[in-house]
Symmetry: C2
Subunit: 662 residues, 2 copies
C-alpha cells in the first residue's frame, strides 16, 4: 500500500494538463488562422515586417521564457507605483506649506499646519479600515512569514493592494514619521501575486506553489529596489528576509526584476523631475581624495556600537509601548468606541510637536524627510564660521534663535525616536525604516560635528592632514542605526546606491557589523519583535552561530513517549490516550506497535466526532430504541433487558463525559 | 526494527562527548591553578588588570562565540597572504624591468625579457608537481564541487596550500596572463580547513561536517574580498558559487570574515605602500555630475550583448582547446616524457609575443596588469588632441609608431583572448578572472573611444550636452565580459568596490544582465565547463527558470521497474536479477514485495562475494570433501553418491559461471 508508486493519480494529473494544453493549442491555432486571414488586407512589406517581428518575439519568449517578461513587467509596474506615490506626496507637502504661508497670525498658521496632516491620517485610517485592514502596518514581518510557507488569508488580495497604495500615500503626505520601504515590499508582493493569477488564467499554466514563492522573493527585491533605487541592496535584502535557506534561482530572478525596477524608477525621475541625468536619490558630493583617515575607524566603530545599543532600545521601547497599549483594558475600550480617536490624538500630537513656530524649530520640521536627509549628508562642517550663503541657509534650518546645531540635532534624534514609535502604532500603512535611517543620519552628523569641533585641524597622521567630514559620519550613522534595529546587512549596499558614492564603504561596514553584533546580543530585530507581538506563525531561526549549538542533540528535545493510534487499539486504551494527551491536537496513526510505521494522523476533534458517532447520545438513543423494539417483541425477557440497558447507558454516558472533559 | 528511535547509539555518542569535555575541564582547571600560583609573584595592580582582561575576554568568547574570532582571524590571515603575494609579484616585475633596462642591444634585451618569466613558470610547474599536483588550476570549480557535498581527497591539505601559494606567486611574477581570484578562494578555503582542524584539536570540540561547510562558504567570500578588497562582492560571489540553496547563516559569517579581510588588505596597502588613506585598488576619478546620458544606455546594453557572445566564445574555445590537447595521443605521449616541455613552450611563446621591441608594442606589454587596468579606466578621451604631459605618457603606451590606439586596443583584446586560454592550460596555479576582466576593460575602452570619435561633442539631449567618457565604457566592458564568461552577477558589486565609484552602477547592471542572458543561452559558465572537462562529481543546477520546467513530472525520469532483493527471494530469481540488472551497482533490499519498505541496499560486489561464499569454488570443494568423507564411510552407496556429486558439481559450476559473466 505505502512505499509503492501509484500510477493512476499522477497520470490523471498529467492528462488533465495535456488536455488543457491541447485546448490552448487549438485556440491559438484558430487565432493564428484569423490573423492570417486579416493579414491579406495589408501591404506585403508590412506583413513581412510583421512576421519577422513575430519570429523575434517567439524567439524571446521561448528562449528567455515568460518568466523573464513577467519579472521585467513586475519591476516596471512597481517602479511606476512608487514614483507616482512620491509625486503625490510631494504635491501634498507643497499644499501644506502653501496653506501655512497663506496664514498670517500664529493661530491660523497653527491650524493651517495641522489641518491637512490630521485629515489625511484620519482619511487613511478610515479608508484602510473599510477596504482592507490587512494593509495596516509595514508588511515585512508578514512577508517573512509568508515566505516561510505560511498562508496568510487575504493578505495578498486586490483590496489590500488598493488600501495599501492609497493609505500609504495619504500617510506619507501627512508628513508622519513613517517610511515606505516595508509597504512597498508588500505592494510589490501583491502585484506579483495578482500578475501570477492573471498569467495563470490567460496562459493555461496551472498554478504552482513553488513558482509563487519564487516570484514573491523577487517582489521583495523589487520593493526595496524601487523605494531607494537600490537594486543590489534590494536583492541582498530579499536574501536576508526570505528564509533560513535561500534558493539561488531566486537570486537571478530578483536581480533581473530589481534592475528593471530601479532603471524605470530613475528614468522616471529623469524625465519628470528635470534631473540632468540618472542620479542617486540622496546624491552626495564627498571629495574623491582622502574621504577619511584610518584613525577615524575607531570612532566609526564606536558609532556602530552605540547605534547597536540605541537600536536595541528602540525595539524594546516599541514592543513595550505596543504591549502597554494592548494591556490597559479601559483605554482600549474607550478607543474602540470610536476608531478615529487614536489616530486623531496621535497625529495631532505629532504635527503639533512639529509646528515650526513652536517646538518644531528645534527639529528642522520645515524640511521634508528627503530634505532633512540631504542636508544631513551635505559635504561641509556646520560648526565652522565661514559658510557660503547656500550653506548658511541649510544650517539655519538646523539651529534656532535659542539653540545651537548640537542641541537641535540632539532634540531631533530624541523626538524622532519617540514619535516614530508612536506613529508606527497608527492604524495606517507605515514602515519604520526611513525614520530610523533619518535618526541615524542625525546621530552621525552630531558625532561628526562634535569630532570636528574637537579636532578642528583634522586628525594628524605623519605629514598628511585630513579634515573631518561630518557628512561621512552622518552616512555611517544612517547605515548603523537601521542595522541595529533591523539586524540587516544589506543597508551597507543600499546606502552606497542611495548616495551614489561608495567611498565610505569600509567605515559603513565596520559600523554596521558592530551595530549588528551589539543589537543581536540584546534584542530580536524589529521584524521579529513585531512577528512575536502579532503572534504570527513563524519558524524560528536556527540557533546562533556558536559551537555550543553543535552539542544539542535531537534527543534533547524530541518527544519519546509518543501517543499513537493503531487499528488494534482497544476502547480503554483510546480513552486513556485521550485523557493523558489532553493537549495533543492530533494523534499519529501507525500500522502496529511493533512496526511503528506512520500511516497518517487524525485530529483530536475528528477522533472525538467519530467516537461520538459510535457511542454518543444519538447512537445511544438509537441503540436504546432498537433494544426497546426488541424488548417489546419479546415480552418474557423484559425485566432482564431493562436492567442490562440501563447499565450500558450509564457506562456509555461515563465514557462520553470523560472525553468532553478533556 | 525500523521507524523506532534507538537510544543506545545516541547515548554513547553523547557520553563520549561529555567525557571529552570533562577531561578538558580538568585540564583547564589544572592550568588555572598553576597560573594562580604563578600570579602570586606579580604585583597587585597587574594581577587585577589581568583578571579584568580575563573577564572581558571570557565575555567576548561566550557572547560572540569562538566562531566570531575564528572568522576574524581567517579574514586577517588571508588578507596578509594576499598582500604578501602582491608584494613579491611587484618585486619580481621590477627585477625583470631592471634586467631589461640593463641590456643594450635587442638580442640581449630579448633574453633579459624572457629569462625571468620562463624560469619562474618552469620553477612553478616543477614545484607544484613535486609538492601537490592538486594546486594546479583555478580552484573555483573544485570548491563548487566540495560545497555541494563531494569530498575531494587531498584538495584542502597543507601541502596543497604551500604549493598553491608559492606556485601562484611565481606564475603571477612571471607576468603570465593569469589571475589570482580563483587560487585565492582555494587558499582561503585551505586556511579555513586547517584552522578548523587546529581549533578542533585544541578545544576538544569534535569535528562537525556542517560547520566545516559553513566555514568554507565564508572562506570563498574572504578569498574574493582579499583579492579585490571587495567584501560585499565577495559575499555575493560566495552565494552564487556555493550551491542550489544557500544557508542564510553563512551570509552573516561570510560578511563578518570578508569585512575583516578587506579591512586588513586595505590597511596593509595604506601602511606599506604609502597610500594617503584607505583606497580602492583601481580607484577611478569620474566627475560627480553627468557621468553618462540615458541615451547611452542603448550602447551599454549592446556592449553587454556582444560581451555575452564573446564570453560564450571564450568558454567554447577554452573547452575545445583543452579537449584537443587531450585527444591527440601522439602529442600527449611526447609531452608526458618531459613535464617541462609544455610549460617551456607556452611561456616562451607568451613572453615572446609580449616582447616590447617586437609585437609587444601593440599590446601595451611594458605595463603590468594593474597598470593596464588603471590606464584603461583613466578619465580622459585618448583620441583627442590636447592632452597633458601625463596623459600623453599613458596614451603612448597604447599606441606605437606604426599603429593607432584603436588598432592597439583591438590587438590587445585578441591576443589576451588566446593567450589567456593558452596560459590557463599551464600546469601551474592560475585563475582566469583578471585577464578576462582586462580584456573586457580593453573592449569597453575601444567602444568608448569609437563612440567619442563619432560624437565628439557628446550626445545631445535637450539643452544638456554630456561628453562621452570612454573610461566609463571601459568599466562597463570590464564588468560585462566576466559576466559573460562566468555567468556571475556579483561582478557588478566587485567592480564598484574595486573602483571606489558607484556612479556607473546602472549601466554596469544593464550590461551585465544582457551579457548574462546571452551567454546563458549559448554556453555553460567557465566553471561548469571546467567541471565537465575534469569530470568532477557535480549536482547539476535545477532546470532554468521557465514555466515549461513545471510540466516535468518525477514520473518522467523515475525508474519504475525497480530490481529488489528480499529475504524470501529464490536463487533463480536472484540469478535472473543479477543477469538483467547487469549495470546496476547496488540493489535495494526490501522487507517484502507487498510492503516494499526499503531496509537498505547491497553492493553488487558484496552480493557476488556472499554468493561465492555459498556456492563458489571453495565451498564446492568443501562440500565435495565432506561428501567424499561420507561416501568413504559408507562403502555400499559409493556408486550412487559419485554420480550425484558430479551432477551437483556441474550445476554449481554453471550457476557460478553465469554470475561471473555479468
Amino acid at each position: 500500500m505505502y512505499g509503492r508508486y501509484i500510477r493512476t493519480l499522477a497520470e490523471e494529473a498529467k492528462e488533465e494538463a495535456k488536455r488543457a494544453k491541447q485546448v490552448d493549442k487549438l485556440r491559438r491555432k484558430e487565432e493564428r488562422q484569423r490573423a492570417k486571414e486579416l493579414r491579406a488586407y495589408r501591404g506585403r512589406c508590412l506583413s513581412r515586417l510583421d512576421s519577422l517581428f513575430g519570429w523575434f518575439w517567439r524567439l524571446i519568449i521561448t528562449k528567455l521564457g515568460e518568466d523573464g517578461i513577467f519579472l521585467a513587467v513586475l519591476g516596471i509596474l512597481v517602479a511606476v507605483i512608487s514614483f507616482a506615490q512620491d509625486y503625490v506626496v510631494v504635491q501634498l507637502n507643497l499644499a501644506r506649506i502653501y496653506l501655512y504661508d497663506l496664514a498670517y497670525d500664529p493661530t491660523s498658521k497653527y491650524f493651517a499646519w495641522i489641518s491637512v496632516p490630521v485629515l489625511l491620517v484620519l482619511f487613511s485610517s478610515g479608508f484602510v479600515h473599510l477596504v482592507a485592514p490587512q494593509a495596516i502596518g509595514s508588511g515585512i514581518p508578514e512577508m517573512k512569514t509568508i515566505l516561510r510557507g505560511v498562508i496568510l488569508k487575504e493578505y495578498l488580495s486586490f483590496r489590500t493592494f488598493v488600501a495599501k497604495c492609497i493609505g500609504l500615500t495619504a500617510t506619507l503626505g501627512a508628513g508622519m514619521p513613517v517610511g515606505k520601504e516595508g509597504p512597498l515590499v508588500h505592494i510589490a508582493s501583491i502585484v506579483a501575486t495578482l500578475m501570477s493569477k492573471l498569467v495563470t488564467s490567460l496562459d493555461g499554466i496551472y498554478e504552482n506553489e513553488s513558482r509563487k514563492t519564487e516570484m514573491l522573493a523577487a517582489a521583495c527585491a523589487v520593493g526595496v529596489s524601487c523605494c531607494f533605487g537600490a537594486p543590489i541592496g534590494g536583492v541582498l535584502f530579499s536574501i536576508e528576509v526570505t528564509s533560513v535557506f535561500f534558493a539561488i534561482r531566486n537570486y537571478w530572478r530578483g536581480f533581473f526584476s530589481a534592475v528593471f525596477g530601479a532603471l524605470t524608477f530613475r528614468l522616471l525621475a529623469y524625465w519628470y523631475e528635470n534631473h540632468e541625468t540618472i542620479t542617486a536619490i540622496f546624491k552626495t558630493n564627498f571629495p574623491q581624495e582622502l574621504p577619511y583617515d584610518p584613525q577615524e575607524l575607531v570612532i566609526y566603530a564606536l558609532i556602530g556600537v552605540t547605534s547597536g545599543l540605541f537600536g536595541a532600545a528602540f525595539v524594546f521601547c516599541h514592543r513595550k509601548y505596543v504591549l502597554f497599549m494592548r494591556k490597559s483594558k479601559r483605554l482600549n475600550r474607550f478607543l474602540q468606541k470610536n476608531r478615529f480617536i487614536y489616530p486623531f490624538v496621535i497625529s495631532l500630537a505629532i504635527t503639533s510637536i512639529y509646528f515650526p513656530l513652536g517646538t518644531g524649530q528645534f527639529v528642522a520640521s520645515r524640511l521634508t524627510t528627503r530634505q532633512q536627509i540631504r542636508t544631513l549628508f551635505s559635504n561641509f562642517t556646520w560648526g565652522t564660521e565661514n559658510l557660503t550663503a547656500s550653506e548658511e541657509m541649510i544650517v539655519n534650518e538646523w539651529r534656532s534663535d535659542y539653540s545651537s546645531i548640537y542641541f537641535n540635532l540632539a532634540t531631533f534624534i530624541v523626538t524622532t525616536f519617540f514619535l516614530t514609535i508612536a506613529a508606527s502604532t497608527l492604524p495606517v500603512p507605515s514602515g519604520s525604516l526611513i525614520p530610523i535611517f533619518k535618526m541615524g543620519a542625525g546621530y552621525g552628523r552630531l558625532v561628526g560635528e562634535v569630532v570636528a569641533l574637537w579636532f578642528p585641524e583634522g586628525i594628524r597622521v605623519g605629514s598628511y592632514v585630513s579634515q573631518i567630514l561630518p557628512g561621512g559620519y552622518s552616512i555611517v550613522g544612517a547605515a548603523a542605526f537601521p542595522a541595529g534595529v533591523t539586524h540587516s546587512i544589506s543597508i551597507c549596499v543600499v546606502i552606497s546606491e542611495m548616495t551614489g558614492q561608495i567611498k565610505h564603504i569600509i567605515p559603513v561596514m565596520v559600523a554596521v557589523l558592530a551595530a549588528n553584533v551589539v543589537a543581536r546580543l540584546l534584542q530580536p530585530s524589529l521584524y521579529e519583535s513585531i512577528i512575536m507581538i502579532k503572534k504570527l506563525p513563524y519558524l524560528p531561526d536556527i540557533l546562533p552561530s556558536r559551537t555550543q549549538a553543535y552539542l544539542v542533540y535531537v534527543e534533547d528535545f524530541m518527544v519519546r513517549d509518543v501517543k499513537y493510534i493503531w487499528k488494534g487499539i482497544t476502547f480503554k486504551e483510546l480513552r486513556d490516550l485521550l485523557k493523558e494527551g489532553a493537549k495533543i491536537r492530533a494523534f499519529p496513526i501507525v500500522d502496529s506497535p511493533n512496526n511503528m510505521i506512520l500511516l497518517g494522523s487524525i485530529q483530536r476533534w475528528e477522533l472525538l466526532k467519530v467516537l461520538d458517532l459510535h457511542i454518543g447520545r444519538e447512537r445511544r438513543l438509537q441503540v436504546a430504541a432498537q433494544w426497546q423494539e426488541e424488548a417489546r417483541s419479546s415480552h418474557n425477557r423484559r425485566l432482564f433487558k431493562g436492567i442490562f440497558l440501563s447499565q450500558i447507558h450509564i457506562l456509555f454516558q461515563e465514557a462520553h463525559l470523560e472525553f468532553k472533559a478533556d
